[in-house]
Subunit: 240 residues, 4 copies
């Protein structure tokens, strides 16, 4: 059965800055979606901030198995009622892949319960992404590390809950490290935070980065719920 | 140095229902506070929902090392701006001990990022609280299990993030189990959820339960922050 | 590609005790193997203690993706050199499913690094296995719990390392709880401990139990190694 | 009550190589022990490989709360029966702090259940040790990172079980990262692996490194056992 993926993008940088439009002429969402469409079992659509309901109508959300999220300068413009809907969809099983600056998106922060703050520097420096859990499905087909020629630095301490599984640790030439690939379970849903992807560099054209995102989509696909999100008053199963 | 503890209670059941007032004549908060005051290194105060600002003024919060929370029927009456303040105090290091029905309190749910729903039954049945991490400081001085003659049943699946540390598992006579003692780190703060404590039974007069709460206070006391909750733009530490 | 499963059994109880032979006329290994063969993508074979090299020649081990282990009274008869070979196969990616009394098998204890002791009682009592991680692949297709009419009691404290993932918690009528489904990563290999399966009861004829074992086989299948089990002296990747 | 610490050292490099003797004239053990003795509540002794029973007689082990271990070239000379004794002492509550090349010591490998292999390079390069869990007692009093001017590089993938708590991540100038401060529970005992400390550099004269070791001693001190390392056959606590 197909995995239905929705790639969401704030889609502002690409429209405002020529240097970024050169890297992603159709926007980051269409770049990622294009690569995901190479997989015959993925059904891919996109949605962006400036569409009605941010492109995330009930119909779209109900038919999304995995939501990929890229946002940066306009986190605050995302409406709380849409965030609330996404939140409950995750608790009911929808996968969420939060990319790069989505660390401060409303939905990611709400699911984490922490500030998700970090150190940063935009200096186009080299990053090396080390695999620390090579048997994790998200690392499948990746070698010992991924070399990223130019990336924004994101450094510790990253204020997140301890990841359920830590798959990647990033090394930055300027002297920092970062927990760059972090897995969480929230309700029935699986959440993967993946640090690479500053808009100024062609990171989402890197085949290894795309491979990780594809792996994460498969890992995060929903399971069937066995109970509702309620607090049922239940009868005893044994004599008391 | 003293550990400054604030015991917060909704304090409604005790005022409305005689059978509960008999168990906790001064309220659950004063019962717990009374036991905590036995410790010479604890400085204990209380606060309740119906006080101005729910008794949690900036001055009180700034001078609280560990906040104990009991709430049940009136979670929704707790003002969002107070919840927000508590949240940032936790991220900055204040410990939080969420007792029993506080699983649905606004502050606990916000820190968890999940629905925190569970199964329940009020049948006065026997619970046995098994220690599964006997080397954890919160289990210090407790034997293999704590026997609670009568308790409300709380059953799995409890919709929480996987605990950083699972200290207790509850067994209920009616056939359910529960992750009854769960530790989390959130920002600089430590959070402990502890399931026992339904208002209808004298659970907080049980010396073993009080021992666990005292241990949790010591475990949850703040550490010194080494960085602010911000996203600083930093210079490289190495030549890039 | 097929998943190559080897079901290993001590195979002593079934040959010595008629009441057990009635439940498993061909041995526990053949009962489990029979059910696994229902899956078209599983290639299943069996091996037992009294075969040469316990049926685990280099050729068998090299062609095993997932090894299922049932042992009880004769743990000590398993030769250390065979255990050593299994150990390195796990570190190189072979999955291991340790069933029931395999908690004290040499291979499981060696992979855990703890005593793996527990409480026990053979009283034919009821067990209820609660799912606490419903989105885990090992719980797929299982409801809220599995009811086992008669099982040997295994109780906490179970002296294991904190599981990477805790999927099931067992409830026993006599008053105990148990971490009954525990996932670990060791090297490139995945290890699942699953508590049900005392030889005196027909537990491995329970379709839900078999479903869990099948799920565990799929979860534990090997990934490709990206590095050897050595300590290489490496050149710097950057100028130092 | 005093914490009784035994600092164990292989003590070969210092006797054979003048350049190392210059850094640690009395051996690494006496350097560390000297600093630990600054704490009034620590009772400190040392033991070395070439003493009878490696200095770890039953009497010494029974009176050790926390054992610090430094070994490198002579891991294989440590007698298995002594390793076995240390192992059971850890399971019964003795803390173990494994320093640097102790990653391949028999006792650490036995407690981990993995190969504990890693990448390495001796190039005297700079390491920066980042704190990722600032609220952990082992990080108390440490700033955002520890700068180590010269250190042997230890790089991922480090073949260890996922740490219960990951406190430090190391950054190396040559391009690697490392999980440099890892906490584990094993039985009643606590185990801390701490990567810094190559014999060729004066790492154990760094006050921050010593502070971490002192913190780890306090964190790892034993708790009282509530059960034996046995598999007791128990009576039901409830009617079955």
């Amino acid at each position: 059965m197909a995995i239905r993926v929705t790639v969401w993008n704030e889609y502002r940088h690409e429209k405002r800055e020529e240097r970024i439009a050169k890297i992603y002429p159709e926007g980051i969402h269409n770049a990622i979606a294009g690569y995901l469409k190479e997989e015959p079992d993925f059904e891919v659509r996109t949605a962006t901030l400036d569409q009605p309901e941010h492109g995330l109508t009930d119909e779209v959300l109900e038919n999304t198995d995995v939501l990929i999220w890229w946002g940066h300068m306009a986190h605050r413009e995302v409406k709380d009622e849409i965030v609330e809907k996404i939140y409950y969809r995750v608790l009911k099983g929808m996968g969420l892949i939060a990319l790069h600056s989505a660390h401060l998106s409303k939905i990611f922060v709400k699911l984490m319960g922490t500030s998700c703050t970090l150190k940063w520097r935009e200096a186009g420096e080299n990053e090396r992404l080390w695999v620390v859990e090579p048997s994790h499905p998200i690392a499948e087909g990746i070698g010992e590390y991924i070399d990223i020629e130019q990336e924004e630095m994101y450094g510790e301490r990253f204020d997140i809950p301890t990841p359920d599984e830590l798959v990647f640790i990033g090394w930055f030439k300027g002297g920092e490290v970062f927990r760059s690939g972090c897995c969480y379970k929230r309700g029935y849903g699986k959440v993967f935070y993946f640090q690479p992807g500053h808009e100024s560099y062609p990171v989402y054209h890197n085949p290894q980065i795309i491979k990780v995102i594809k792996n994460a989509v498969r890992w995060a696909k929903p399971v069937k719920m066995i109970s509702e999100i309620t607090c049922p008053n239940v009868k005893p199963l044994e004599k008391i």
